[in-house]
Structures are given as structure tokens and as C-alpha cells.
């Protein structure tokens, strides 16, 4: 086997404790996602989504930024399929730029990490093109300005390679979470299928980066994907 036992150990480190913690929350998470407020968030009716605006004051960390969950549901943002696709396009382009900034920072010194970053950036570029196509006239072909600023600042302030990888890890998880949110709001089959084909790739990126960081396995292998870290189109509007 190519992977050492010590490395594999790091992939499942602290599983016991975290599994216990995670299992304690699991009923609430399931209920939240499928029966409660989460069901409204991801439900079939946009009116139902908007009625959820008043719920939830939970503060969610996106990298170093924090946003209130209810802002995901802002009525200020047109939650139609084209708008969601345009937002996703902007997020993907911001990810591309983030990886480019990381590569240009000189802080990535491990060749394999650099190769992974280049590969992931290329895939995000493909995602952006696909979302842009789905967005039609709503597409901006522009990296999300707010996200770019936030992540760019984080990359600039990163102390070392591990910090860069952590930023990318957070961004990938945020993208995956954003697509869980989107899947609850999109209605066209094509947009749903596109999003469902991209979400698993972001999740795989997160696994790679989380394991490189030596995070506890249950950090990057949760029991369920959630929208908890979803990026808000209100917090990060398209250009």
C-alpha cells in the first residue's frame, strides 16, 4: 500500500470523540434538514423559503468571515434558477482566483500541493463555465467580488502553506454547502443535475485538503452534507 499507517491514522484521528459529538447532534441535524427549518429552506416552494427569513440567528463561519444564516434567505436576492446559477458561477470564479493567488503567493512549497491546487483550479474553471452557461443572460463571467476580497485577504495574511491549504479547505466546503442550499431552491432539471454533478467534486476536494491538513476525519467526512456553511448571495452578491 502506498499510504502509511501513520498517515491513515491521521485521517481517522479523533473519530471516537468526534463521532460521539456528531452523533449527539445527528437527530437535530436530520430533523433540521428534512423535517424542520431546513426542510423549509430546501423545500419546493420559494414562498416557503422566503417565509423562513425570520428563522435562525446562528452565526456561521466561512473561513474568517461570519454571516448570519438568515441572510441566506434574504428577499433582496432573486432566487430564480438563473440567479442561483450566476451566483454559483461567481463563486467558482472566485475559487479559481483564490487558487491562483495562492500559487502566486510563494507560500505553497510542496509540489504535490501545488499540483493539486492547479488541478482544482482547473476544475473550478470548468464549473464556472457550466454555471455561466446555465445562467444565460444572468451570467457575469466575473469572480464574486466580495468573496474574492475576503479570500484574497486571507491568502495574503496566511502565514504558511498549511494556512493556505486551510483557506482552500474552507472554500471547498463552503462551495459544497452552497450547492446543498441551491439544490433546495433550483427547479429546472438541467440546473439541478449540473449542481448535483459538481457538489461531489467539491466534496472530494475538501477530503484531499482536509487530509493534507491532518484534520480529524469526521471534519472532512461528516455524516451528512449540510447547508450550514453555505455562502450567501446576499453577503456576497454577484458583480
Amino acid at each position: 500500500m502506498e499510504i502509511s499507517e501513520s498517515n491513515l491514522r491521521s485521517m481517522v484521528a479523533d473519530v471516537d470523540e468526534l463521532h460521539r459529538e456528531g452523533m449527539g447532534d445527528m437527530p437535530e441535524q436530520i430533523a433540521e434538514l428534512h423535517q424542520g427549518e431546513g426542510a423549509r429552506l430546501m423545500g419546493p416552494s420559494r414562498a416557503k423559503i422566503l417565509r423562513g427569513i425570520g428563522v435562525g440567528g446562528l452565526a456561521l463561519a466561512i473561513g474568517q468571515a461570519v454571516l448570519p444564516f438568515r441572510r441566506l434567505l434574504s428577499p433582496a436576492y432573486a432566487l430564480d434558477d438563473a440567479g442561483i446559477a450566476a451566483f454559483a458561477e461567481s463563486v467558482e470564479l472566485a475559487a479559481v482566483e483564490a487558487y491562483k493567488a495562492a500559487a502566486a503567493s510563494g507560500k505553497v512549497t510542496t509540489p504535490a500541493v501545488g499540483e493539486a491546487a492547479a488541478s482544482f483550479a482547473s476544475q473550478h474553471e470548468e464549473h464556472a463555465a457550466a454555471f455561466g452557461s446555465a445562467a444565460g443572460s444572468a451570467a457575469t463571467n466575473t469572480a464574486n467580488p466580495g468573496l474574492l476580497t475576503a479570500v484574497g485577504a486571507q491568502v495574503s495574511g496566511a502565514a504558511d502553506e498549511a494556512a493556505i491549504v486551510k483557506i482552500a479547505y474552507d472554500l471547498e466546503n463552503a462551495a459544497a454547502a452552497t450547492y446543498i442550499f441551491a439544490l433546495g431552491a433550483l427547479t429546472s432539471s438541467a440546473a439541478l443535475q449540473l449542481t448535483a454533478s459538481i457538489l461531489p467534486v467539491e466534496s472530494a476536494h475538501a477530503v484531499v485538503l482536509g487530509s493534507v491538513l491532518g484534520l480529524p476525519a469526521t471534519d472532512y467526512i461528516p455524516g451528512f452534507e449540510t447547508a450550514a456553511q453555505a455562502l450567501s448571495p446576499d453577503q456576497y452578491p454577484v458583480a
Partner: protein, 261 residues
């Protein structure tokens, strides 16, 4: 939190189910993890990168080429049902209205059957005596416990959709896999089988997005589908395969709805 509109009975049932799963998994799991978590110093980042990103530079990729038989068997199982299943989604491209609520039930029953199959296969792996790396065994148990949670979710959603949950391993896919399972000879073969199963699960859930009458289920099924993709990525790393080989996940290995259920 504001008032919930879900049943407290449902939440209690979910909590009880989860606790049962937890109780059933944790004793042996904890013992193995106690041995595993020896607080070894964190490896250098480049060492970790070498290990987990090995697939990106294709090193060792061909070493496991001969093991990729399980996936073919599963695909064969899917193909054998594609044309005959009354619930086959075929070329449906519409959202919601074109399918009845019964179709939601069939998708969810198929999903829980796959999860139960994964649980059974991981148990077979654990019991086989072929898993010699403790961390692999621990990872298998973690994944198995998550598949149990996934099955519980799909069964709960089946009930909510008005159907009867499917609680057994998918018999059709299992029958196709049995020769491969019977021929398992070493740890790497087990990991390859697990990878193939996780890939099939991830692709199956992706393929059903857009086909639900209840649109909320599009997100629900991918809360699981994304995790199966994470499992597959971990296993791909162990197999020294690329962990994120393509920009878009495909569905060529998806199990057709209604297969075996």
C-alpha cells in the same frame, strides 16, 4: 429557533434510531480507535501530501488495475435492470410533475437498499480477517456507521412519502457482487470493492436529482450523495488513485431505480 413544524414523535424516533446505531457501533469501534489514536506526531505536510495526493501524480496507479472488477459487476447489475424495471427513470428530464409520488418512494427504497448493501459489505470486510491495517478497519467502521445513518434517513423519508421502507441489502446488486465478494483475497481487494460501492452510491443519488416529485428530496438525497463521494475520495487515496479525477461526477455506474426492490 422558532417553532418547528415537524413532529416531535418523528424527532424522538430519529433520536432513538440514531442512539441505537451509536450504541451498536461504538463499543468495538472505540476499542479499535483507542489503539489507533496513539497521538503520533503530526507528519510533515509534504509527507501527508505525498500520501494523500499520490493519485494526482499517478504513482502506483496501475498497481491496483487488476482489482477493478467489482465496479464492473455493479454496472452489470444496473444494466440488467435498466430495460426491465417498471420504475426506470429512462430519459426523463422533467422536474417533479412528470412522475408520481410513488416514484419518490421507489427512489428512496432503492437508496436505502444500497445503503444496507454497503453496511453489509463493510461488515463482511470487517469479519473477513483480511483487513490487516487497523486504520483501514476503523475507517470501514466509520463509513459503515454513516451508511447506517443514511439508510435510516432514507427509510424515514420513505415513510414520510407514504411508502414502506426497504430495509435489506439490495438483493439484485448483492447477487451480482457475490462472486467478487467470495473471491476477496486481500485488503486491497476489499478497499477496491468499497471504493466501487461508494462510487455507485454517489452516482446513483446524483442521477436521481431532478426526478423527485417532492423537490425538497433533491437536496436531501445529495446530503448523502456528497458524503459517499467523500468516502470514495478517501478510498481512492488509499488505492493511490486520483481522488478528484474529473470536474463533473458522471452517473454511468448508477443503479437504476427499482433494481432489486
Amino acid at each position: 429557533m422558532t417553532a418547528h413544524d415537524f413532529s416531535h414523535d418523528e424527532l424522538r424516533r430519529a433520536a432513538a434510531d440514531t442512539q441505537d446505531l451509536h450504541d451498536s457501533v461504538m463499543p468495538a469501534y472505540g476499542a479499535q480507535l483507542d489503539r489507533l489514536f496513539d497521538s503520533s506526531p503530526t507528519a510533515r505536510l509534504d509527507e501527508k501530501a505525498h500520501a494523500v495526493l499520490g493519485g494526482l501524480d499517478r504513482r502506483g496507479f496501475l498497481k491496483i488495475g487488476g482489482l477493478a472488477v467489482a465496479g464492473s459487476a455493479i454496472v452489470a447489475a444496473c444494466a440488467s435492470d435498466n430495460g426491465s424495471s417498471p420504475s426506470s427513470l429512462g430519459g426523463s428530464t422533467t422536474t417533479g410533475g412528470a412522475m408520481s409520488g410513488g416514484a419518490d418512494v421507489m427512489i428512496l427504497r432503492t437508496a436505502s437498499s444500497i445503503e444496507e448493501l454497503a453496511v453489509a459489505v463493510y461488515q463482511t470486510a470487517v469479519d473477513s480477517g483480511l483487513v490487516t491495517t487497523a486504520a483501514v478497519g476503523d475507517a470501514a467502521k466509520l463509513f459503515q456507521s454513516q451508511h447506517k445513518e443514511h439508510s435510516a434517513l432514507f427509510q424515514s423519508l420513505t415513510t414520510q412519502a407514504g411508502g414502506t421502507p426497504f430495509t435489506d441489502p439490495n438483493p439484485a446488486v448483492l447477487a451480482q457482487l457475490q462472486p467478487t465478494i467470495d473471491a476477496l483475497a486481500d485488503e486491497m481487494a476489499i478497499i477496491q470493492l468499497a471504493f466501487d460501492l461508494e462510487t455507485v452510491a454517489a452516482q446513483t443519488y446524483q442521477k436521481n436529482v431532478g426526478n423527485f416529485t417532492d423537490l425538497a428530496l433533491n437536496a436531501s438525497i445529495m446530503t448523502v450523495g456528497g458524503v459517499e463521494a467523500r468516502h470514495a475520495a478517501v478510498l481512492a487515496g488509499v488505492l493511490s488513485q486520483a481522488q478528484a479525477p474529473v470536474a463533473f461526477q458522471v452517473t454511468d455506474q448508477a443503479v437504476a431505480v427499482g433494481t432489486g426492490v
